[in-house]
């Protein structure tokens, strides 16, 4: 049976549609930033940026960029009407104090127990952490957005992370280009498999214990 992986935008769209109205959300640098492009227009969702913005809006029109208004990825952004600016310590109080409903983060690896590795590939690279560890422990829900497999075909969902950890047992849900996987006390539960992908095939590719969500199994 053949299946088509989701594109990054398709994963982003899935995530965006799962964010309830009124949520306070931080989108990590890189792939998760795409989620912002797919938020339903009829929902009010507050995007937070760690450098001191709540109610962050989309990128400005060309020529309208303001060097004093950038996001965590250092790209120019806008402020929605009703948005607010604040200083770094307040911003990180929002992140570390459990005020954010959802953080969507990229990852190198996620373990079966929800450990997250997304800040450092180890080795010779100069380590840089930014706000990753603060979001990992502080947001009420940490959702990971990543490709299911590495370029070499190895699963990024692993028994134990081989890369340095960002947080221990912090991930609640993983959106990949193949499925959505919940991290639960009774292990990983997969659902919303892409069309044409059999559960057995997903389990083989993932290589760690995985069960099929009841909703899906009943369907």
């Amino acid at each position: 049976m053949s299946y088509a992986k989701l594109t990054r935008d398709e994963i982003a769209r899935r995530i965006a549609l799962d964010i309830p109205e009124g949520s306070y959300v931080n989108l990590g640098i890189g792939m998760p930033t795409l989620v912002g492009n797919h938020l339903p227009k009829d929902r009010e969702i507050f995007l937070h940026s760690e450098n001191g913005i709540l109610g962050m809006g989309p990128a400005p029109a060309k020529g309208e960029e303001d060097g004093d208004l950038i996001n965590a990825g250092k790209e120019p952004v806008t402020l929605l009407t009703g948005g607010a600016y604040f200083h770094h310590t307040d911003s990180f109080a929002m992140m570390r104090g459990g005020h954010l409903d959802i953080a969507v983060l990229g990852a190198f690896q996620v373990s079966v127990s929800g450990d997250l590795a997304n800040w450092h590939t180890g080795g010779d690279a100069i380590p840089a952490v930014g706000g990753a560890m603060d979001l990992a422990v502080g947001a009420k829900n940490v959702w990971v957005m990543m490709e299911h497999l590495t370029k070499e075909g190895a699963s990024k969902i692993v028994d134990r992370c081989s890369y340095p950890l960002t947080g221990v047992g912090v991930v609640k849900r993983v959106y990949t280009d193949l499925a959505v996987i919940e991290v639960t006390p009774r292990g990983l539960v997969a659902g919303r498999l892409v069309q044409g992908l059999a559960f057995e095939e997903l389990r083989r590719l993932t290589g760690v214990p995985l069960s099929l969500s009841e909703a899906r199994a009943a369907a």
Binding site: E75, H88, T89, R96, A128, G131, D134, L165, G167
Partner: protein, 242 residues
């Protein structure tokens, strides 16, 4: 009469000593006290410990401090930007020590310094390499890491507007580390684009009250153009953008 206005960036920085810990505001290209950094290079203090979110970009500002061999240690959360090659060279050559701190812990350590807090526990970094050799404790069922305050001898911050009592307001996301750093140093020097009369700032909207500010110095306003992060020469010094 209290007048915290300095006549020039040179005068404002005259007493920075060798070996000082200097808190430098800014995140990426926003809120970077470019003129003060340039003046610090000209001033000549060496053996500095620099505290900044990043590690400098391009050839000027903090990057130029590394190039000139003025920095002994960097305390930082994100030193791996496209254009931070002067830091990277100095680091790989063993000339600069790096203390990598999660961004929120960096900010909170300075807040603690400013607020007279002796130390604090945070769940951030628990169970990771950045908590190695640190005291930990389980509080409310959550693993936490003991962190100590981070005091500066000097803070260099960029604000938009100030008055002679040292009250400051900022602009948009350029505020970032400014208010926290201002509270955490023995001497806080703020560069502003505009100095107003007392009463010219709305007391309800003052972000950094003057008690946290030692000197205010006016610098010429530059355009606020944004340039891509990879080549954010403006990020650290406006000169390079020209």
């Amino acid at each position: 009469m209290v007048d915290k206005i300095s006549p020039s960036v040179e005068a404002a920085l005259a007493d920075v000593r060798d070996g000082a810990t200097v808190l430098v505001g800014g995140f990426g290209g926003s809120g970077v006290p470019e003129e003060l950094i340039d003046a610090l290079i000209a001033q000549g203090a060496k053996d500095l410990t620099i505290v900044n979110n990043n590690a400098g970009n391009g050839e000027v500002g903090i990057a130029a401090l590394f190039k000139a061999g003025r920095v002994r240690k960097l305390i930082c959360s994100y030193p791996r930007q496209v254009d931070s090659h002067h830091f990277q060279e100095a680091f790989r050559a063993g000339k600069v020590e790096l203390e990598l701190v999660p961004q929120g812990t960096l900010s909170e350590r300075m807040r603690a310094a400013g607020a007279g807090i002796g130390a604090f526990y945070t769940p951030t970094a628990y169970g990771t390499d950045l908590a190695k050799r640190k005291e930990t404790r389980v509080i409310d069922g959550k693993g936490q890491v003991l962190e100590y305050p981070l005091h500066g001898d000097v803070a260099l911050v960029k604000a938009e507007r100030g008055d002679r009592w040292g009250n400051l307001v900022y602009r948009k996301s350029a505020r970032n580390y400014g208010p926290t750093m201002a509270s955490a140093a023995k001497v806080t020097i703020a560069q502003v684009y505009e100095i107003v009369e007392l009463g010219g700032l709305d007391p309800e909207s003052i972000v950094t009250p003057g008690i946290f500010v030692t000197r205010v110095v006016k610098v010429p306003r530059k355009d606020r153009n944004w340039t891509p992060a990879g080549s954010v020469t403006r990020g650290i010094s406006g000169r390079a953008a020209a």
